[in-house]
């Protein structure tokens, strides 16, 4: 940053003939003068009455002299007042700006020194945009990907095939009491962008996402991970975590896997209206086969990172610190009294946000909630603290199980996973991520669709809701949306992954 202390700048005020009394008033006003600071590229306007008495027109001209005149501001007299305005084009450091009133007839050499600053604008900072290919797992600055999860083919009767149904099975008949999910394909769209913090320093993106869909077992797997900003190889950690957890889940969740082992969980889940106490949930994770599968997958991710660090000399595990939010989900026809339902097994360590959104559910749906979250974000006492998969204690069975959730629902419109680079600007607190249904709906239906300009600036991204577009086109639009978000001091990498009913309007 090249801003030198610019001396020799002054504001010269030229007055008409005034009495010595009036001159004293002028000097008094100038003696107590302060000029507010500005910022490059932000419109500036300052108005001050520096006449001997309000409404008097004894002030004739005002000039900016020295370096002050080349920063995009102009000075003029408007209705007797001094007006300095314009949009500053460069930074200015005025530790000693002289204000010099030249008052006729004496032209007394009175001066007042003020401090005046035009600060550089963090928003218009030009990022060096360097790439740092110092690791085999180097992430590109951005990534985006989108696929249609389910088979979009239609059955002979014109009904689209439903994700998760085995070949030959039919779409579940419309239930009598409750609505089933729309018999439509789902899509996954995801995007990830490097934050300003990394861009400014020419560092790579530390976030990662990954998803897979298994056509044979009909299980779907999604994950997002946020490598800790201050850890050397966290980008490798996030990549390994998201890929390994899915690889392991996919290996173990075979076609033979049945929900039958979860029948008593399901009964209790229904009884509790989708809100099982945490202890109960832990109990089921602990004693069911699926709980074991999820546990093994998380351990596999932890071990993959551990092995990576062992292979690489001079590193410690925490160099790879990463959060992880992941889920395995599929449609089970036998759920929900055989009306079918989505079953979701999730694991979440660290910050960020993950939830299932169902803006149109009615009382007849199960569960009745418009939003349910897939875990609890970790946040610490001090700002910017969270927990990582790779942290001591996170590979303990109890700890992993306490982070796992099983959920099911008869339908959903979107399931969203995001790293804190997205959740921080849009959610006022981590508590809101957990409890504020309105905040989630607002995020999805308003801020993403229509954009916003209320403390956080985001452009509209209607493409996500456009049934005509391919998932790839949507994810490209989503990436652009991510990059364009502006929130004060939000400089983190941003990643969002949306599983979406692609006919929802």
């Amino acid at each position: 940053m090249d801003i030198n202390n610019q001396s020799g700048s002054s504001i010269v005020l030229f007055y008409a003939d005034v009495s010595s009394e009036a001159e004293n008033v002028i000097k008094q006003k100038i003696a107590t003068l302060t000029i507010p600071n500005g910022m490059v590229n932000v419109p500036y306007e300052w108005l001050a009455d520096l006449t001997s008495s309000a409404g008097n027109s004894d002030l004739r001209t005002v000039d900016l002299v020295g370096d002050l005149k080349d920063i995009g501001l102009k000075a003029e007299i408007v209705a007797g007042k001094v007006k300095i305005s314009g949009t500053p084009t460069k930074a200015f450091r005025g530790d000693k700006v002289l204000v010099r009133p030249l008052v006729r007839p004496c032209f007394d050499n009175y001066t007042k020194t003020v401090r005046f600053y035009i600060d550089p604008n963090p928003r218009s900072l030009e990022s060096p945009n360097l790439s740092v290919a110092d690791y085999e797992g180097y992430n590109n600055d951005t990534a985006e990907n989108g696929v249609i999860l389910s088979n979009t083919e239609k059955y002979d009767d014109g009904q689209p095939k439903v994700l998760g149904l085995a070949k030959g099975e039919t779409v579940p008949a419309a239930p009598i009491e409750i609505d089933t999910p729309s018999a439509v394909p789902f899509e996954v769209i995801a995007a990830s962008a490097r934050g300003r913090e990394h861009a400014d320093k020419g560092e790579p993106r530390d976030d990662a996402f990954h998803f897979e869909f298994d056509k044979d077992t009909h299980w779907n797997f999604v994950a997002v991970a946020d490598g800790g900003g201050s850890y050397r190889y966290s980008r490798k950690g996030s990549e390994l975590a998201s890929r390994t957890v899915i690889k392991k889940l996919r290996e173990t969740l075979t076609e033979e896997f049945k929900l039958s082992g979860l029948s008593s969980w399901r009964d209790e889940f229904i009884k509790a209206n989708g809100k099982l106490p945490i202890e109960k949930e832990n109990e089921y994770v602990n004693k069911t086969q699926l709980g074991k599968v999820l546990y093994d997958a998380v351990i596999a991710a932890y071990q993959a990172i551990d092995e990576e660090h062992n292979k690489r000399e001079g590193t410690v595990l925490k160099d790879y610190h990463t959060t992880l939010l992941c889920a395995a989900f599929r449609w089970f026809p036998e759920l929900n009294n055989n009306h079918g339902g989505w079953f979701i097994a999730s694991y979440w360590v660290g910050d960020g946000a993950a939830a299932v959104l169902r803006p149109t559910v009615s009382g007849g749906n199960f569960p009745p909630d418009k939003v349910f979250v897939l875990g609890i974000p970790d946040w610490g006492e001090l700002p910017n603290t969270t927990r990582f998969l790779t942290q001591q204690g996170e590979n303990e069975p109890e700890q992993i199980r306490s982070r796992c959730r099983f959920s099911f629902c008869d339908s959903f419109e979107a399931m969203i996973f995001m790293t804190d680079g997205v959740s921080d600007p849009f959610f006022p607190s981590d508590a809101a991520v957990v409890r504020d249904e309105q905040c989630w709906l607002m995020f999805y239906e308003e801020r993403l669709r229509n954009g916003c300009k209320d403390g956080v600036e985001a452009k509209p991204c209607p493409e996500v809701f456009d049934a005509q577009l391919t998932p790839q086109a949507k994810s490209e639009a989503l990436l652009k949306w991510l990059i364009d978000i502006y929130a004060r001091a939000n400089r983190d990498d941003r990643t969002i992954l949306i599983v979406r009913n692609n006919t929802a309007k």
Partner: protein, 242 residues
């Protein structure tokens, strides 16, 4: 279980608790061209310039409040760093350090409320991140123990210290540092000479330290924060074992 840091920024407030007692207006070391108060005034403009560096998050979310003690306690307004206009401080009066500490705690509590309620920050205190630089050239002239106790008693909801960092600077070899080390046990420093060069170097070092500490807080690596090397003429003061 320890909580590890994540990588982004939050709301920061830097408090400057500055001695402006009359001794700072005098020239103790035979330097006619620079009194302590002039050095502090010059230092503040350099500090401001360092903190508006747009590559630092402090430029966007940082706030500053200057509290001075000299003859009485004066408090500046809480301002975003961009709006901050370094004051021209004048030296006079005695050294009411205890009252200044009380004022600091009172204002810090007010600002905490402001940060949470007025600016719509979350109700927990996780986004509240105050830091403190104290500079004095003499002994308190008031009863300071109660102020010190108020300072030490100011805690987060959890009972931990609210300060992300505290740096205390004793300006001059004769300053009694045992009070400062009670406030900043691991980060009290002493200027042994007060020549113009040494003053400039001290503020440069403070600006760099603030930057490093603020950055470390943002990236969550306080425990690994790299303090810049101390300039010649400054030494770290260890707390004496009681």
């Amino acid at each position: 279980m320890p909580i590890a840091p994540r990588g982004h920024s939050s709301r920061q407030i830097l408090y400057l608790l500055l001695d402006t007692s009359d001794s700072l207006g005098k020239d103790r070391e035979g330097n006619v061209d620079l009194t302590g108060i002039t050095a502090i005034n010059n230092g503040l403009v350099d500090l401001r310039a360092a903190l508006v560096d747009p590559t630092q998050s402090f430029a966007e979310t940082g706030h500053i409040r200057v509290i001075t003690f000299g003859g009485g306690v004066k408090d500046g307004t809480l301002e975003p760093i961009g709006q901050f206009i370094p004051p021209d401080l004048e030296a006079n009066g005695n050294t009411p350090f205890g009252s200044a500490l009380k004022k600091l705690v009172e204002l810090a509590k007010e600002d905490y409320y402001f940060a949470r309620v007025e600016e719509g920050l979350p109700t927990g205190d996780a986004d509240y991140l105050p830091s403190l630089i104290i500079m004095t050239d003499g002994m308190p002239t008031d009863e300071y123990e109660s102020g010190l106790q108020e300072f030490l008693g100011y805690k987060r909801l959890s009972g931990n210290s609210p300060w992300s960092f505290v740096i205390a600077v004793a300006a001059g070899p004769r300053v009694e540092t045992s009070i400062l080390t009670r406030i900043a046990p691991n980060s009290t420093y002493q200027m042994n000479e007060m020549t113009p060069d040494k003053w400039r170097a001290c503020f440069k070092w403070l600006a760099k330290s603030t930057e490093n500490m603020a950055q470390a807080t943002i990236t969550g690596t306080q425990e690994e924060a790299v303090m810049p090397p101390l300039p010649p003429g400054m030494v770290r003061v260890r707390a004496s074992v009681q």
